[in-house]
Structures are given as C-alpha cells and as structure tokens.
C-alpha cells in the first residue's frame, strides 16, 4: 500500500513542500516583526549556489561536508537579508522596492548565476547529498512509515523548526515582543522593546531560513546547481505566509498542499492520466494566484493575522 497513489503523492508533497516550509517560516518571522521581504527567491538562490559550492569544494567527509554546506547556505541567506534589513530598518526605504531589488540581485541573472559561473558549478555533479534516513527502522510501516519515518534530515529539521517558531511566537517573552513590534512598533517602543534590533534580527533570521531552503534544492532534491533552480519557490513561500495567516502550523499544511500540487503532474502521468504536461507544470502557480485572491478577499473583510505594521518603516518620534 506504500506504493499507492495517495501515499506517493503525500510523500512527494512533503519532499517538495519542505523548502517552501523553511523559506516560509523565515518570511513569517520577518513579517511578524513588520518587515516585508520580497527577496526570498533571491536569498534562496544565493543560499543554494553557496551551499552547493561549499559541499563540492570542501574536502570534509560526507556528513561534515553537508553540515558545512548548510551552514554556508544559511550564512549566505542571512547576509543577503542583512542588506534588506539595512535598507528597510535603517534607511527606511520602501520595503517592496528593496525586497524586489534583493530578488533581482540574487536571482537568475544576478549574483547566484555569477557565483555559479565563477565556481564553474553548472553541470557539476554533487559529491554529497542528503539521503533519506529510515528513522528507528519504522520506514516500512504501512502509511505512517513513508509519511513520518523515511525522510532526509532537513525534513525532520523543518518539523522541529516549525514547532520551535510556534513555541517562540506564542510562549516566550521575546516572541510576545516580536508580535508587538509587528503590530504596533510605537507602543512596543514605549514599552522598552528595541524595535530596530528586533526587526534586524528577525529579517536576518528570515534570510538564514531562506538560505537553508535554497540548500535543500542544491543538496537534497538533486545535488546540482542550475541557474534559477528554485523556479519561483520563493514567491510561493511568500504567498504561503499570507495564506497561513502568519501562523506556523498552517504554514506547514499549506506548504505540503503546494508540494503535492507540484508533484501531482508526474504522479498522474506515471499512472497513465493523459493531460498536457504544460498544464501540470502550471498547477502550483495557478494555485498561488488562487490562494492570493482567496486570502486577500478574506483579509479585506477581517484582517486576520496580518501584522498591523507590516511594511511600514518605523521612525521614533515621527508622526
């Protein structure tokens, strides 16, 4: 039964949803602090290329090489995000413009491509890859085996991070402060919360998450580097944050729904369903548009979840 269509689709949904979840968690943290970062796609690509470069160039043995590569990807994403944090928090520029600039900077004809060429990475076969771990030997259990116990380390990490972000937001003092900064920075400031510091930290943290999500593409799915290999996943992650009403739990569900949508094409084709492949390829993007329309029409009626100060620069003393 573990080869049945439903299980197969759910398993591939988890595999393809994981980078969306990771990038989405990062964006969620940034947005909760009131900073909208549209640079996710660019940060992911730079994270992906740096992680791949690191994994292929380091002489470290397997597991260490992968750990090092993920670390490099994380730092690369964080570095990219710090540009946006500087522009958005210190310079107080329009966050949409700055975020878009970040995506252009990192994106498919920008920094990530340049780094890929510099390292001669295109077409190189990856030396290291995250493989599925059969956790506790339970991977062969019917249904729950492949769904819960047979994934790579980054999938397990994404579950832990989802729990951690949820716990942080709702159960800790800094989490409460973060939400206050995103809702009403003036009040938070009056309470003694360092608004600018919170925004910097969480924007950069968001970039770090995006970097890991990028590394997922170059180290897990297929260990390789291709220009623009994230193929719009960063944009889908931003959509998911809105669609999940800024809640980590819903983000996880949404990411997997999109993951299933991304893999539904080949799964149905392999089972003899004949439909134009272009149509299958379009499914996740069509879903993104639909999700945005639904979410924004719901949001228009009752502003559920959206941090009230999202996208607004905060200047102490300004009106």
């Amino acid at each position: 039964m573990n080869d049945g269509l439903l299980i197969t689709m759910l398993v591939s949904g988890i595999a393809y949803g994981t980078p969306l979840l990771l990038a989405g968690l990062g964006e969620l943290l940034a947005e909760r602090s009131g900073v909208l970062n549209l640079g996710v796609e660019g940060m992911m690509l730079v994270g992906a290329v740096c992680a791949f470069w690191a994994s292929n160039r380091t002489g470290l043995p397997g597991a260490l090489a992968l750990a090092f590569a993920v670390l490099v990807g994380t730092l690369a994403g964080a570095l990219m995000a710090s540009l946006h944090a500087f522009a958005a928090v210190t310079l107080r520029v329009n966050q949409i413009v700055s975020g878009l600039a970040l995506t252009i900077l990192g994106g498919a004809v920008g920094l990530s491509s340049y780094l890929g060429q510099l390292g001669g990475l295109a077409g190189q076969t990856g030396k290291h890859q995250f493989r599925d771990l059969d956790l506790l030997g339970l991977g062969d259990l019917p249904a729950v085996g492949p769904l819960l116990f047979d994934h790579n380390l980054l999938v397990y990490a994404s579950w832990a991070l989802t729990l951690a972000v949820g716990w942080y937001l709702y159960r800790t003092r800094p989490g409460l402060n973060l939400r206050a900064v995103g809702e009403d920075p003036r009040a938070a400031d009056a309470m003694g919360v360092p608004v600018a510091r919170y925004r910097y930290v969480h924007t950069i943290l968001g970039g770090a998450f995006a970097g890991v999500a990028g590394a997922f593409y170059s180290l897990v799915v297929v260990p390789t580097w291709t220009d623009g290999m994230t193929a719009g996943a960063g944009w889908i992650a931003i959509t998911l944050v809105i669609f999940s009403f800024w809640r980590p739990g819903w983000l996880l569900v949404g990411a997997y729904v999109f993951g299933v949508a991304m893999s539904v094409g080949s799964n149905l084709q392999a089972r003899g369903v004949e439909l134009a492949p272009e149509l299958f390829s379009a499914i996740p993007y069509v879903m993104t548009v639909v999700a945005l329309v639904v979410a924004s029409s719901v949001l228009a009626h009752r502003r559920i979840g959206a941090p009230a100060a999202l996208g607004e620069p905060y200047e102490r003393g300004a009106k």
């Binding site: 197969t8 252009i104 920008g110 295109a122 291709t226 290999m229």
Partner: protein, 382 residues
C-alpha cells in the same frame, strides 16, 4: 529624505548587479576573436557551436562538445571552433547568432531544437554563412542543414536491454517534449522491448523541460512507484539515474556513458558520437565540395551510435538468448539491413501505420507524431 535613500539604495543595487550581468554575457567558453570580418582562404574555417544550458550537462551538450573538440583535432589547423553555452531558446538566441556572425564565423551549429526559427531567419539574411541545426528536418534555406538522426535504432536496442533486465512488463521513460526525435526514441524503445518481451509496455512521463533535474527526479520516482521495472532517460542530467539507483531499479542513460551516476543498477547508455558526421560535413565545406544538404538523416551505418558496455545488473538478469538477440539486431542496424519501423506497425489506437512489407520514409520518420501500441503517456498530439 526618503526619496534620497531610495535613490541611494537603487544605485547601490545597480552597481551590485552590473558585474553579474557582465559575467553572464560571456558565459561558457572562449570568446570568438571579435572585430575581424570574414576569414580569407588561408585562415582556418571558423565554426561556432551553441548550446542551451551548461556545456557540461552530463549528456546531450557533453556529447556535442566532445565531438566539437574531436572535430577540431581531426581537421588539424584547418578548422577552429568556439562554444557558446547558456543560449536560451528565446529571441536572445538571435542576438547571439548575430554576434557570432559579426565575429567572423563561417558556420554556426545549433545543438538545440528551440533555436530553429532564429537559425532559419539568420540563414536567410546571411546566405554566405553555413548553418547547421540539430533536431530539425525542414529545408527552409539552401545554406541551412538540418541534422536528424535515427535515435529509434539505438533506443530499440536499449529497449531490448531494458526488457531483458526488468522484472515487470511495464517500463518507464522520462522525456522532455513529444517532438518527433523523442517520439522515435519512445517508439523504438517500446518495439525493442517487445522484441524481448511481447507483453512489454512503456509509460512515458513528460517533464516539459530539457534540463530540470528536480522534475526528472520526481518523474523517475513516480514511474517507479507506479510499478515500472526499468527506467530509460531521454533527459540527460544525473537525476534520473540516481533516483532509479536509489530504489535499485535498472536504468538506461543517454548520449554519453552515464554509468557513474548509479553504477549498481545501471544497464547501459544510448551513446552518440557526432564526430564522424561533423568531420565529413566540414571536410566537404572546407574543400568546397559541399553542395548543401537540407536534411541529413544519420543512423547506425554512419557510425554515430552505440550502446555503452552493459552494467552488472544487465549481466545478472539478462539471459544468453537476450544478449544474442541484441547482438543480432545491432549487426542488422550496422549493415543497414534492419529497420525499426519495418511493417507491420500498429499505433496506440490500433490503427496500422506501417503495413506488412513496407517501411517509413525519412520524411515520415522526421515528422513522427504518433506512438506505437504499448506506449502510454504521450497523447498522439495535434
């Protein structure tokens, strides 16, 4: 204040992007000597090769680029080549073609089907430049040669090897687009498999992209979980072989010997070497005997195809009878006595496409848009 900051950031961003763009412009490969006009008789004949995607993709582009290097070596100082990678199948290709002509190339070779319309346009504008287009068959201009090749022959043999190594009747193929050369490969594979196992069928998954390792991996996993007993790769990145190897499912590589991607369950690769064909073509172009051939259809008799040495999984699973049958068919293709689509051939809808005793013409082959009985996943399109 705010406007000034935005301007400052924009300027900074532009400054940061600029080097990236510059790097992209001379992507992949030596630059053709800029500035000089058409070469005189004593200068070497200059040929530029264009590729979609990276030069070393572990497959199609690698096969072409190996041939490019060998061609230059074989023709000694008479011919000089350049490689231009990452040329998209988009209007940008027209600009690349123009700049290659500007820098004095005598011939332009495009290795990808999607450049066809830009090549045709350029061929009409530059009658003194020779254009060679892979994967095409339309005689649009006298100075444009379409290179087509009988992929069906090599894939027929690969299909035999797949059926001999598979434990299931169902076989899987991962392909990009249902264009005629791919349809010929799919059909050849299926007919070859049926020559070993009459019940064999082929499930095709189309990824809608020439180079997308993520999709290829996904397609392979889907095929395996739907019960395919062997996987053939018509896309050439490592993803397909690796995904099959991870599940210990026998797999077949394409264009170059891809054994290293997943040796444990490797069967063979459908290998192509363009060198003999290119040497012949450019030799005649250089000595002036070339008369223009709108459509070259290369096959086993031209010496461009072979199967890579079989892997351990084939040796373990195939019977001596299977191996003998493969050898016999290989000989038949080499001598030109054997033809993949010799009738009777029936299509998926049960219609007889090639009656007993007949065969397809080169025109019919190069326009193939139908699938043989036993293939699913490719709608006989349009």
């Amino acid at each position: 204040m705010r406007a000034r900051s935005i301007a400052a950031v924009t300027a900074a961003v532009v400054a940061l992007i600029a080097p990236g763009c510059g790097g992209d412009a001379d992507a992949g490969g030596e630059k053709a000597g800029a500035g000089d006009t058409k070469s005189s008789a004593s200068d070497p004949y200059k040929v530029a090769f264009m590729y979609v995607g990276p030069l070393h993709d572990g497959g199609w582009n690698d096969a072409w680029d190996t041939a490019r290097v060998k061609l230059e070596k074989e023709l000694g100082g008479k011919l000089k080549t350049t490689a231009k990678a990452e040329v998209p199948e988009a209007p940008q290709a027209a600009q690349v073609i123009n700049s290659l002509i500007q820098s004095g190339n005598d011939a332009i070779v495009s290795t990808t089907f999607g450049h066809s319309k830009y090549m045709i346009e350029a061929a009409k504008q530059h009658p003194d430049v020779q254009f060679i287009q892979a994967d095409t068959s339309v005689p649009e201009a006298p100075n444009l040669t379409g290179i087509d090749y009988a992929e069906e022959e090599n894939w027929y043999l690969a299909g035999m090897a797949a059926a001999a190594s598979s434990k299931a009747d169902k076989l899987g193929l991962v392909a990009a687009f249902p264009i005629p050369p791919i349809m010929r490969a799919i059909n050849g594979f299926t007919l070859g498999a049926q020559a070993i196992n009459p019940d064999a069928s082929t499930q095709v998954v189309l990824t809608n992209s020439w180079f997308d390792p993520g999709k290829d991996q996904q397609a392979t996993q889907s095929l395996i979980s739907s019960g395919a007993g062997a996987i053939g790769a018509l896309n050439s990145d490592p993803a397909i072989g690796r995904a099959a190897g991870n599940k210990d499912v026998p797999w077949i590589g394409v264009w170059v010997d891809q054994r290293e991607y997943a040796p444990s369950s490797y069967i063979t690769s459908s290998v192509v070497d363009w060198t003999p064909a290119l040497v012949k073509l450019f030799n005649s172009a250089i000595d002036g005997s070339y008369e223009g051939d709108p459509h070259v259809y290369l096959d086993y008799t031209d010496g461009i195809f072979s199967l890579a040495p079989f892997g351990d999984m084939f040796d373990a699973r195939a019977s001596d009878g299977d191996t003998a049958k493969i050898d016999e068919s290989t000989k038949g293709f080499k001598s030109g006595e054997r033809s993949v689509f010799a009738g009777p051939v029936t299509d998926v809808d049960g219609k007889v496409r090639v009656p007993e005793g007949e065969d397809l013409t080169v025109e019919q082959l190069s326009g193939m848009d139908w699938a043989v009985a036993g293939v699913s996943g490719v709608d006989s399109q349009d």
